[in-house]
């Protein structure tokens, strides 16, 4: 069948089962949008900024488990995608980004709107393609989706010169992939699984440390089973939230810089850490040399380069978490059942004592506090099919602490890159991927202002996202560091000057606006927002002086955690 490269691209995307594309047009991309417009299988959503398109595709992937797709024109369109691609790369999210490029003959001539996007993105993609022969488009698309979604997932870029999309080719509906250098390990080594089981049975203070890899491999049921079968206390990273329901008695919540005191104590006193799809990030370990000083390590990860990268591992198992954890459960189940008493019963008692002594809490004197707001959002949504997304900052960490994530793929946050402005786009992407779900974005006034233009997208496509701005009038997370470590010199973190009226902004975009100033107003407002089934901006006017605690000071070990807000706290700037 003869057709243009642009049409072949669209057909190839349809073949991959793509239902949604987040994009933005431009001169060299018209040919592709022209064909997309005719597609009955793909809906293209017109965003208001390419960065938002990339984040939305990223969050769509997180919410659904499918590959997210975004698209932008050459030059500035492509460079606007860069932050979004980096974000997906850092969190290992399967995404395909398609950019237009100047004509093949003009590459390298500083042609109008030329940007070497394959060059620019080299360190932040899993792989990239510059199309040099239009007949290869079907094969490249097939490979891109395969690479993005298998092994350790990640973003793949396809850069499409304008003459490639315009030229006539013979379309190959079933191209053959050619990836001789790409063979991700899937199945874990059986001997290693046995060794892991043995090591677990010989331990006294084991902890499961589950990360984003558990979510990515859809291994939450297996992970929860492993915890239940072995009765091993389980902590998750920010990215691993939902790997085990956080209301489970074995759950320790999040560990790390802003993790719970009991999770961090458990890690610090553990004699065996079972890391599953987690990468010992510095936000988790704090000072590496004092991390888990008494522990041995079992490390399960699909990426061999993660094993031994930050800590020395005793039993490495390379492969897919879902498969390996299932095998481990099978291996250990009978031995666990044979035990007369749980070897780590005293360990449980110790952890319960820590939970009692240092619960996750906050002090309230009747004012509206962010932690309270988030608790209420959790209460209002815990029995619903709900997805929570976040911006980056204090509100994100409070969300991580006070939203108990009960199911995988329902807590969506920018972890590795920590990209402010991720909240609105991720709410859009999640809502598109999960139209039935109630979507709440827990956002900051700073983060929100980076992407507020895309409220237009919510209105345009009737996406009933609920944007909760915790308005503390500060770049709060930076302010907290200034308060604690930089002599309270609040340099360039005060957002009061120029603070927009978010209610008017909501109105301007055709969204519902609700401003909340008192604790008693919180739940009714949340309920109203859910009921309205419209895009909604909820502005919670909160104090600027709240800090996120516990906190491990930067560069310190988990043992040096500050448990709670130091007193007195008043007096700010």
């Amino acid at each position: 069948m003869k057709m243009t490269g642009a049409k072949a691209l669209v057909k190839s995307l349809e073949n991959e089962g793509v239902k949604h594309i987040f994009g933005y047009p431009g001169g060299r991309l018209i040919s592709v949008h022209h064909e997309l417009h005719e597609s009955k299988k793909i809906q293209h959503l017109l965003m208001r900024h390419e960065q938002v398109a990339a984040h939305a595709a990223d969050a769509y992937a997180r919410a659904t488990g499918k590959v997210g797709v975004c698209m932008a024109t050459s030059g500035p369109g492509a460079t606007n995608l860069v932050t979004g691609i980096a974000n997906a790369y850092m969190d290992s999210i399967p995404m395909v980004a398609i950019t237009a490029q100047v004509g093949s003959m003009d590459i390298g001539t500083d042609a109008f709107q030329e940007a070497d996007i394959t060059g620019i993105t080299l360190p932040i993609v899993k792989h990239s393609y510059l199309v040099k022969d239009a007949t290869e488009i079907p094969r490249i698309v097939k490979e891109a989706f395969f690479i993005a979604s298998t092994g350790r997932p990640g973003p793949v870029l396809i850069d499409l010169p304008s003459d490639m999309s315009m030229s006539q080719i013979e379309y190959d509906p079933d191209p053959e992939m050619s990836l001789p250098g790409y063979k991700p390990t899937f199945k874990g080594n059986n001997r290693q699984v046995k060794a892991a089981a043995k090591m677990i049975l010989a331990s006294q203070r084991p902890v499961i440390y589950a990360g984003g890899g558990v979510i990515l491999s859809n291994a939450a049921p297996e992970l929860t089973k492993l915890a239940h079968v072995t009765r091993i206390p389980t902590t998750t990273t920010l990215m691993g939230k939902g790997a085990i329901p956080e209301d489970d008695e074995l759950s320790l919540g999040m560990l790390g810089m802003h993790g719970t005191a009991y999770a961090n104590h458990a890690i610090s006193n553990s004699d065996l850490i079972i890391a599953i799809g987690a990468r010992f990030d510095d936000r988790v370990t704090g000072k590496l040399s004092t991390f888990a000083p008494h522990a041995k390590y079992i490390h399960i990860d699909v990426d061999p380069a993660e094993i031994g990268k930050n800590v020395k591992v005793d039993v490495p198992i390379v492969g897919d978490a879902k498969q390996i954890v299932a095998a481990l459960v099978k291996e250990i189940k009978d031995d666990m059942a044979k035990l007369e008493k749980l070897p780590w019963a005293p360990w449980h008692d110790q952890i319960v004592a820590w939970k009692k002594k240092h619960p996750l809490t906050y002090k309230s004197e009747g004012e509206l506090l962010p932690q309270y707001v988030i608790e209420q959002i959790y209460e209002a949504t815990k029995n619903l099919d709900a997805v929570i997304t976040t911006g980056v900052g204090q509100h994100q960490m409070w969300a991580a602490q006070f939203v108990k994530t009960l199911k995988p793929r329902t807590f969506i946050s920018s972890g590795g890159l920590g990209t402010m402005g991720f909240g609105v786009p991720s709410a859009l992407g999640a809502q598109v991927g999960r139209p039935e779900a109630v979507v709440f974005d827990i956002d900051g006034d700073g983060s929100f202002q980076m992407v507020s233009q895309d409220m237009a997208t919510a209105t345009a496509y009737d996406l009933p996202i609920n944007i909760c701005i915790l308005n503390n009038q500060w770049l709060g997370m930076v302010r907290q560091w200034q308060e604690l470590f930089w002599d309270k010199r609040y340099a360039y973190t005060d957002l009061t000057p120029g603070m927009p009226d978010f209610m008017k902004l909501a109105e301007a975009y055709g969204a519902q606006g609700i401003r909340i100033t008192k604790p008693a107003e919180v739940m009714p407002a949340i309920k109203r927002a859910i009921k309205s089934k419209r895009p909604c901006i909820l502005e919670f006017v909160i104090t600027g002086e709240q800090g996120v605690f516990p906190m491990v000071p930067p560069g310190k070990g988990l043992q040096d955690m500050i448990y709670e807000q130091p007193e007195p706290q008043k007096g700010g700037s």
Partner: protein
Amino acid sequence: MRHTVSALVENKPGVLVRIAGLFARRGFNIESLAVGPTEKPSISRMTIVVDVADRPLEQVSKQLNKLINVLKVSDLKASEAVERELSLFKVSAKPETRAEVVEIVDIFRAKIVDASRDELIIEATGTEDKIAAIENMLAPYGIREMSRTGKIALARGGRKTED
């Protein structure tokens, strides 16, 4: 520690940049890099000499292996590999010193590949040590210019680099 990394890669545009970028990003300095075709036209071999500690090198090898176009990476130990480098020296050789220079060339089984009134171009192949030695010997006569290929290597005996 200096290491010789041998990588078999798909012969595709952009592969060199990906590999060089990876080294740069992890803060490693490439001392030499040689790229050329192998017995299969679709595959090239890159021989990279880097100076890094063992642990970070393992990390780089693993990261290299992750590049889609990289087929195989191995760390070649000098004792288990044949290593060669080719170098060209342009040496000043006045009539009064010419005989001495020619003698050095003979000792090292190098070759004179070009001659002019005051200069000789000498081609030498061998291990790094040998090249360093001849360079050392020629230096007093005045090395005007020098060009080296960087090291290429193959694993010895029945072992293939791919194994």
